[in-house]
């Protein structure tokens, strides 16, 4: 029954990430909301790869072959890639937020409306 809550956490993480994206006005907080959603998706992948009382898929000094049960390796390889991509997106968005602040002296979305001579 406890594994049921794994999926609840995934859905709640993604849900609160999306809610923050709609209501938050500060640029940095939007980056944090994005990280929450990425964490939710990573957890979803790991939940797919779980096997009851399976060990990590590493054979060095693993228990005897008989009762060896291993967790699936592919989602963990993808999460490795997704974490680094999440880091990349966050690093770039924080850089752009710093530059926006340096040019416009505000981080609030409402004040950062589109170009002045817009339509």
């Amino acid at each position: 029954m406890t594994d049921f809550f794994l999926y609840v956490t995934v859905v709640l993480l993604i849900f609160f990430g999306m809610v923050a994206l709609i209501y938050k006005r500060n640029l940095i907080k939007i980056v944090i909301a994005l990280n929450i959603i990425e964490a939710g998706i990573n957890l979803l992948f790991i939940a797919l790869a779980y096997r009851p009382n399976g060990t990590a898929p590493i054979f060095t000094l693993a228990p005897a072959l008989g009762e060896l049960k291993m967790v699936l390796p592919t989602p963990q390889a993808l999460i490795l890639t997704n974490i680094v991509i999440g880091f990349g997106t966050t690093a770039l968005m924080l850089t752009l937020a710093i530059l926006t602040y340096q040019n416009n002296h505000t981080l609030d979305i409402r004040k950062l409306r589109g170009v002045e001579n817009n339509d």
Partner: protein, 518 residues
Amino acid sequence: MTDHIPVLIIALPLLTAFILPIVGMINTRLRNILVFLVIAAVNLMLISLVQRVSIGGEVLHYVVGAADPLQVIREGLDFPIRIVLKIDGFSLFMALISGVITFVVFLFSLSYIKEGERKNYYQLLMLLIFVGMLGMEFTNDLFNFFVFLEILSIASAALVAYRTDRKHPPYAGYKYMLVSAIATSFLLMGIALCYAQYGSFNIDYIHGMMKYTLLDKMALVFMLVPLAMKAGAIPMHMWVPDTYSEAPAPISALLKTASMASLYGLFRLSFSLFGNPLEGGGMNYHTLGWIIIVMGVLSMFVGVTMALVQNDVKRLMAYHAVSQTGYMLLGVGVGIAVHAQADGGSAFKLFGRVAMMGGIFHMMNHAFYKGLLFLTSGVMARRFGTRDLNRMVGLAHRDTFTTVAFVIGALAIAGIPPLNGFSSKILLYESVYQFSPLLSIIAIFVSVLTLASFMKVFYSAFMGPERKDMIIDATPVSKGMILGMSILCVLVVGFGLFPDLVVGTIVEPAIESLVTIL
């Protein structure tokens, strides 16, 4: 060596991108020559494939890292275990567009962007956008499609914010990055659901095992709507004008082709992953077709009405990019909807296929004339130091070539007969009319408004007396810029006069590879 071509096309520019910082430290002329050679080499490789893949109808497979790269599934297994690259008519068609536009943008930005330390990074990121587009178009693996889409998004977000000293580009880069990050996160959710169902990431394998359960349809939604957002379809298009107007001009042309690679992703997933409309399957394609049609028509209308009232040249052209994407969506949407009719594909053979042909041919035409227009808008903005139409006058006196290029681009986007906009729009009008006349009438009306808004730009920026005092940057247009623009002009006029040359050899095989024709 020729059967290694699919991976060489992606790995060669990647290798150059990796050694570019080192070469850039040595000297910049060598770096320019190196990047020029690589883009030209990749284009030649692509053109050499046209004979085998488009005309010959052969589908190239390449398993990266396997003992035998051409054998997709090993004997003992019934599923692929490595990443498989697949080149068929449609992906080669898109790769050719990306190749031509990247070559032209490279030539244009040789002199448009001032030489300096940052130019190293500019050329590096431009090359990596090219790699991202090619990667997206060649993979047959969902997670690999996600990784290359991410390469594309991060590289173009950084290039959108290239002019960090100005007020708005960093915020435009931030918007583009946020939109792309959200879109790719939802795409990854769809991929996770597909992986949970079928244990594999290979598009063809999943297509074979597809059961159309509720989860598959959810995966479809989580994959298609974000890709439509990245392609700039209504109602998620608002980031397009903010981003294209702040980016340097050659980068907006490259961004437009990058968003068309997401449109390719949309069509590839809706056809190759979620079942072919012809085989029916559990998916109701009529509704999927109508969703895409509604998105297309709305994009067309809202894009052009917003463009009419713009004062800013690049924002006006960005809104036109949104409205022209509506044409492509309309074409392929009608193709899908007609395909799903239960009359055994006779209606499809009559006009559904022509609608898809018009939609996909319009992708190539649109890339060329929109690239041309963005490049000319770059010259206009550089000349007058501003993007506001009211503060531009009499450019025709000084840059006659840019005026000719602009006129060709404007007439092509409005669909005037001898140019290539007409050849794809006439296919669209005819076939969509037989599907439902109202859509065709809206499409024609939108073309009229497109011509109206470009008349406004022509009269305000090019006509009028010559004013020396309003010219900010008087350096004449350099050879690289003229060469870039002339390549696009030749393509726009050439495909307009001889459309069958292109439709017969490239566009029709693209449709056959997408939809199994009866």
